[in-house]
């Protein structure tokens, strides 16, 4: 193919009832509410933005240290710090609206501590057109009370999906915790309960110790592991879950470049998110997009959707 053919690659992907202009999104908690990277790249290029977790009330988050580096990864225990739903509307929503109107799909990440809180968050967010879908954060390993259990308790998770599914026409996406015996089974459960898509994976509960001081590095002792270290596990989980469900999957976990992103698509993800990569190289999402396009051209792929699940086994 000639270089001119570049413009011919159809990068758009279907995600339930949504169509993303391309499969490249940024992961919740790594991109704020879309303004923080304004001086680094044009976020309207993205297929989607997953907003930082929202809760009804403002949350202060955890005391520092909140992050630390590990081999090819990082730990975080931000503790869901966020301004709460009211200040989201006053401070953050206008910018989401701006990005949304440029064709970027906006996903609100909801971190309720009870089913009621999830319901309230959706009720509030139904009033804005700046949000296109809800991602249920049922797997944040950093919140001691409640937060953990939704993603690891089948009954609770089913209840939550059923309850939220009733409240909105918009897609409900469940973000799964990797800290389960059988992630595909959790995916199937969510699908049966009415989820429109799955995000996987969230961070792994993990910890770091300072041998000199004999203290944990993070104030909360444990935090969530992300980055290239977890990529092989994430890829296997996406592959395994994609074999078991027919709803689309947003794949993430250590995606740093276009090659990584393509691997997730081949494993069965319909879209991908870069998270930790945004800290390492704030331009990563754009480079992933460009690299994906170049790969399609080189491999004579007309529509990026042709790559999804295309692993040859």
């Amino acid at each position: 193919m000639t270089a001119a053919a570049a413009t011919c690659v159809d990068l758009s992907v279907k995600l339930g009832s949504l169509r993303l202009k391309n499969p490249v999104t940024v992961a919740s908690g790594t991109f704020g509410y879309g303004t923080e990277y304004a001086h680094v790249f044009d976020s309207t290029l993205l297929g989607g933005v997953f907003l930082k977790a929202l809760t009804m009330n403002p949350r202060p988050g955890n005391p520092p240290n909140r992050i630390c580096e590990t081999s090819s990864g990082m730990l975080n225990s931000i503790g869901l710090q966020n301004v709460g739903i009211d200040r989201f509307f006053s401070e953050k929503e206008p910018n989401c609206q701006r990005i949304a109107s440029a064709g970027v799909t906006i996903f609100a990440n909801l971190a309720g501590q009870t089913i009621e809180e999830f319901e309230q968050l959706i009720d509030h967010l139904e009033t804005t057109t700046a949000v296109h879908a809800y991602e249920l954060n049922v797997s944040c390993p950093n919140v001691n009370k409640g937060g953990c259990q939704f993603g690891q308790d089948q009954t609770l998770l089913r209840e939550l999906v059923i309850a939220t599914r009733k409240l909105t026409q918009r897609p409900i996406i469940v973000k799964l915790s990797p800290q389960v015996t059988d992630i595909a089974a959790m995916g199937v459960l969510c699908e049966r309960a009415g989820a429109d898509a799955l995000s996987l994976i969230n961070t792994f509960p993990a910890m770091a110790i300072d041998a000199q001081s004999r203290r944990p590095v993070l104030n909360t002792i444990a935090g969530g592991l992300s980055g290239p270290a977890i990529k092989p596990i994430a890829l296997r989980m996406v592959y395994q879950t994609a074999q078991a469900v027919s709803i689309p999957i947003i794949g993430m976990g250590g995606i740093m470049n276009a090659t990584d992103a393509i691997e997730f698509l081949l494993a069965g993800a319909s879209a991908i998110s870069s998270g930790t990569a945004n800290f390492v190289n704030p331009n990563a999402p754009v480079e992933i997009l460009r690299g994906l396009e170049a790969y399609c051209i080189e491999h004579c792929v007309d529509r990026v959707e042709q790559l999804i699940g295309g692993l040859q086994v």
Binding site: T30, H39, P63, P64, I67, M74, N76, G227, P228, V280
Partner: protein
């Protein structure tokens, strides 16, 4: 008082290293050519630097700017070798490319009225205060600066000649017998005089002492703080410190320069 410098242009730059200096066994300075940063950086602000294309280390590393020359488009960072990232940086050579975010964070702001400044630097905390002393001198605002520079070893005290050009007094203090004053810089608080404003940067233990002393003496004080950083851009909320009046604030965005009396520095 810290000014939130509005970022008018992109913050993500590539450039090159143009000069490498070793100032002490573990202390290095790199001059970098990135005109956008050189032109707009203020004392107290920092750059967030990618160490390697690979993943060891994965995250960027933050460094204060030591000085900047908008005319030739260069600025310097100065660092101490403390771990894997800074170790790798000692291998950088003139001509090597660099990838930096910057200038980031808040800067020191010295109101017109303040004519007598006290700077308390500990170790590599000397960096932003060096830049500030230089800038104030060049501004010809007739500000008198007393610059106290403390470190464990005399070896870790450097660039005194530059500082002496710009400051009223420069007082090196080390715990070994390298200088007249022996001990920790905060041991000499009774000799600090009565400044309008104290500016400080150094290890947390020192900042805690400076906070206590300046509170007792009723001096206003601004400090440049450190923390582990992820994004450097305000997005990850990884770098926060606790304040007494506004909860957690981000070192990369609200800081690194803070009113020291607002901070909870722990016990």
């Amino acid at each position: 008082m810290p000014t939130a410098t509005p970022a008018q242009h992109t913050l993500h730059h590539t450039g090159s290293i143009v000069e490498v200096q070793q100032l002490a066994p573990l202390i290095w300075a790199h001059r970098c050519h990135i005109p956008e940063i050189a032109a707009s950086v203020h004392p107290g602000q920092f750059v967030h630097m990618r160490i390697t294309e690979g993943s060891a280390p994965l995250l960027r590393r933050p460094f204060s700017v030591l000085d900047a020359n908008p005319r030739d488009g260069t600025f310097r960072i100065l660092f101490k070798v403390v771990g894997v990232g800074t170790q790798i940086m000692t291998g950088f050579r003139a001509g090597d490319p660099v990838d930096m975010l910057g200038p980031l964070g808040s800067a020191f702001n010295v109101p017109r009225a303040n004519k007598r400044l006290l700077m308390i630097a500990g170790g590599i905390g000397m960096v932003p205060l060096y830049f500030l002393a230089k800038k104030l001198f060049e501004s010809r605002r007739g500000i008198e600066v007393d610059y106290w520079f403390g470190a464990r070893d005399a070896e870790e005290i450097y660039l005194l000649d530059d500082l002496r050009q710009w400051c009223n007094t420069v007082v090196p203090v080390s715990e070994d017998a390298g200088f007249e004053k022996r001990g920790r810089v905060t041991d000499f608080a009774n000799e600090w005089g009565s400044p309008n404003l104290v500016l400080t940067c150094g290890p947390t233990a020192m900042l805690r002492e400076v906070q206590r002393i300046t509170r007792d003496m009723n001096f206003p004080v601004y400090g440049a703080l450190e923390s582990f950083m992820g994004c450097g851009l305000g997005a990850c909320l990884g770098c926060v410190l606790n304040t007494t009046d506004a909860g957690y604030e981000r070192v990369c965005t609200e800081g690194p320069v803070f009113d020291l009396h607002r901070l909870e520095l722990g016990p």
